[in-house]
Every structure is written in structure tokens, then in C-alpha cells.
């Protein structure tokens, strides 16, 4: 991004400051989401984080898609695909590697992890693979009716998953007994701290979307200038959005809380693809 800004010359310092501010705002948003999450407890906590990440991501994509200029119809797809790949391979792989190096063999709750994974596979296949094989419209697109249907189905899938995670089978998503870290026993924040964090969380989300809107043209010109494929824009967006969650998941893996890692990882993949 810095290189992209430099390529434009005049705006370089300004763009660099904006890029730093954007990453700062993403971290601030996730930190405040974590405070709120700690207050409400697992597994609702992961849900708060996931929703915050989704808001950032959708905000970024929509602001870029609605910007004037050439069509960016592929951006949403590229971002979602990059997010799925970064989560399923990058975050999960790193967590397993770090955790494995430290604790040799790690256990997690089979029910929770595979339930989340099943929903993720279904969602990703429906929205990313199926459009190639529908025959009403040529190419990788859905017709209007198909798009509406896919949207509704995705909502149903994700809604069911959230219901199962928070109400019906909560225990599937808690760390296995005997694995609780000291983090879980820290006193929950006060009501005032929670309220402040909620306000700051909303503010940070707004800042992220506005900054991204200002930065996206610079990023795009930079990528075109370097000669990289346009799908890189999606990967950059997904990476920025997922960075803080990846750090949180890694921390949990090092503390032998693989369940929390997987909740974080798969939890943020699901709404993103939905």
C-alpha cells in the first residue's frame, strides 16, 4: 500500500498516514469487540467479534463497489474467497503449527469444529462454485431470482448456525474441560467500561469504512501499476480485516485453547461468506 501511494507521488505522505490509521482503526475495533465479548462470555463473545469483522468487510466491499469507475463485480467474490483461504489455511494452519510446536498434540471439541466447518463448506460451495454451473445466465453469475434465493439460503444457514452455537448446543463450542486458561478467569469488565467500548467499537467501525473508501482508489492504481492481477485487491482487503482476529486466534492456540482459535477462525469465515 505504501508502494502504491509512492507511485502516485504527491499524495504519498497523506496516503501513508491514512493506511496506518486504517490498520489502527481495525485493531481498535477488534480490541473493543474483545472487551464486549469478555463481558458477555463465550460463545457469544466470538459472535460479537465475527459481526464486527463482517461489518468492516462488507463496508469495505460496498464502498469500493459503489465507487465510480470501472466495474468491480469480481471484488466481492475475490474478497470472500481470499477470506476463506486465509482462514481455513492461513489462520488454522498457523494455529495448529504454533500450538503443535508448543503442546505436541492439541484437542478440541469435534462437534463444534466440524459443525462450523460443514456450514462453511455449504455456504462457500453455494456462493462461489455453483454460479459457474447455473445455465440461465452465461458465465459465473446468478440471475436475480437465483441471487435472492442464494441470499435467503445463506441467511438460513448462518442463522441456524448462530442458534446452535449460542442456544441449543452451547457446550459444543466451549473449550474442553481442564483446558481453561487464566484469561477466562479474569474479572469481567464493568458495565461502564463495556458501554464505552461499545460506543468506541461503533466509532472505529465507521472510521474503518470511511478510510477504506478514501484509500481504495490509491490501492487499485498501485496494483495496476505494479502489474499484479486485480484479485489482489480482494486478498489485501481480506488480510487487513482478518489480521487482528488472526492474532487473537494465535494467542489462544499458544495458550493451548485451540477451541477458541477454531471458534474465532471459523466464526469469522462464516458470516463473511454468507
Amino acid at each position: 500500500m505504501l508502494g502504491a501511494a509512492l507511485a502516485r507521488g504527491v499524495n504519498a505522505p497523506f496516503a501513508a498516514i491514512m493506511a496506518v490509521a486504517l490498520i489502527g482503526a481495525v485493531f481498535a475495533a477488534v480490541h473493543h469487540a474483545e472487551v464486549v465479548a469478555h463481558r458477555v462470555g463465550e460463545p457469544f463473545g466470538t459472535l460479537v467479534l465475527a459481526v464486527a469483522v463482517t461489518v468492516i468487510e462488507v463496508g469495505l466491499i460496498v464502498s469500493i463497489m459503489l465507487a465510480p469507475g470501472p466495474s468491480r463485480a469480481e471484488l466481492a467474490r475475490d474478497t470472500v474467497f481470499a477470506a476463506v483461504m486465509l482462514i481455513c489455511n492461513g489462520i488454522v494452519g498457523l494455529c495448529l503449527l504454533m500450538g503443535g510446536l508448543r503442546h505436541h498434540e492439541q484437542g478440541f471439541q469435534l462437534h463444534g469444529a466440524s459443525a462450523a466447518f460443514a456450514v462453511l463448506v455449504a455456504l462457500a460451495t453455494l456462493s462461489l462454485v455453483l454460479p459457474n454451473f447455473t445455465v440461465s445466465t452465461p458465465g459465473p453469475t446468478f440471475t436475480g431470482a437465483q441471487l435472492e434465493f442464494a441470499g435467503v439460503v445463506s441467511l438460513v444457514l448462518y442463522g441456524t448456525f448462530v442458534f446452535v452455537q449460542t442456544v441449543r448446543h452451547r457446550d459444543y463450542f466451549l473449550p474442553p474441560p481442564g483446558h481453561a486458561g487464566e484469561e477466562l478467569h479474569a474479572p469481567p469488565p464493568t458495565a461502564i467500561a463495556t458501554a464505552t467500548s461499545t460506543m468506541l467499537l461503533l466509532a472505529a467501525l465507521g472510521v474503518v469504512v470511511l478510510l477504506a473508501k478514501a484509500l481504495s482508489p490509491i490501492l487499485e492504481t498501485g496494483i495496476v501499476r505494479v502489474g499484479a492481477p486485480k484479485s489482489l485487491v480482494g486478498i489485501v482487503i481480506a488480510a487487513i480485516v482478518l489480521l487482528p482476529e488472526a492474532l487473537a486466534a494465535l494467542r489462544a492456540a499458544r495458550a493451548n485453547l485451540l477451541q477458541t482459535s477454531l471458534n474465532l477462525a471459523l466464526g469469522s469465515a462464516l458470516p463473511a461468506s454468507g
Binding site: 463497489m65 503443535g100 485451540l258
Partner: protein
């Protein structure tokens, strides 16, 4: 995303190309194997990271 596309009349292109489909399928296959055991070691972590590396490499050098 679907709602936004419909409301604003923006075209939205969803299908992946063949290369990405293969990678997605591979990811899910390995993911099922990883999660299917309930216990994980360094090996699964490395396998996932290799797939990620392939994905990033092919995104730059298609």
C-alpha cells in the same frame, strides 16, 4: 452482499475460475481430515500453510 447487488443494481460476479475451485475443494478436503480426528499435530498445520502458500503464489503468478 446479494442484497446490496440487487438494491443498487450492481452486477455481481460470483463463480470462481477452475484453478480457484480446485484450491477451494482441496482446502475443504484437507480441512475435513484435519478436523475429523479431534486431535491435531504440527503436520496438519504445515499442510494447511502449504496450501495457503500455493494460493498466494498463484494469485500473483497466474
Amino acid at each position: 452482499m446479494a442484497a446490496v447487488s440487487i438494491v443498487f443494481g450492481q452486477p455481481i460476479s460470483l463463480g470462481l475460475d477452475a484453478k480457484e475451485e480446485v484450491l477451494l475443494g482441496l482446502t475443504f478436503l484437507v480441512g475435513v481430515l484435519t478436523l475429523g480426528t479431534g486431535r491435531t499435530t504440527v503436520l496438519q498445520g504445515v499442510v494447511h500453510l502449504v496450501i495457503l502458500a500455493v494460493f498466494l503464489f498463484l494469485a500473483l503468478v497466474s
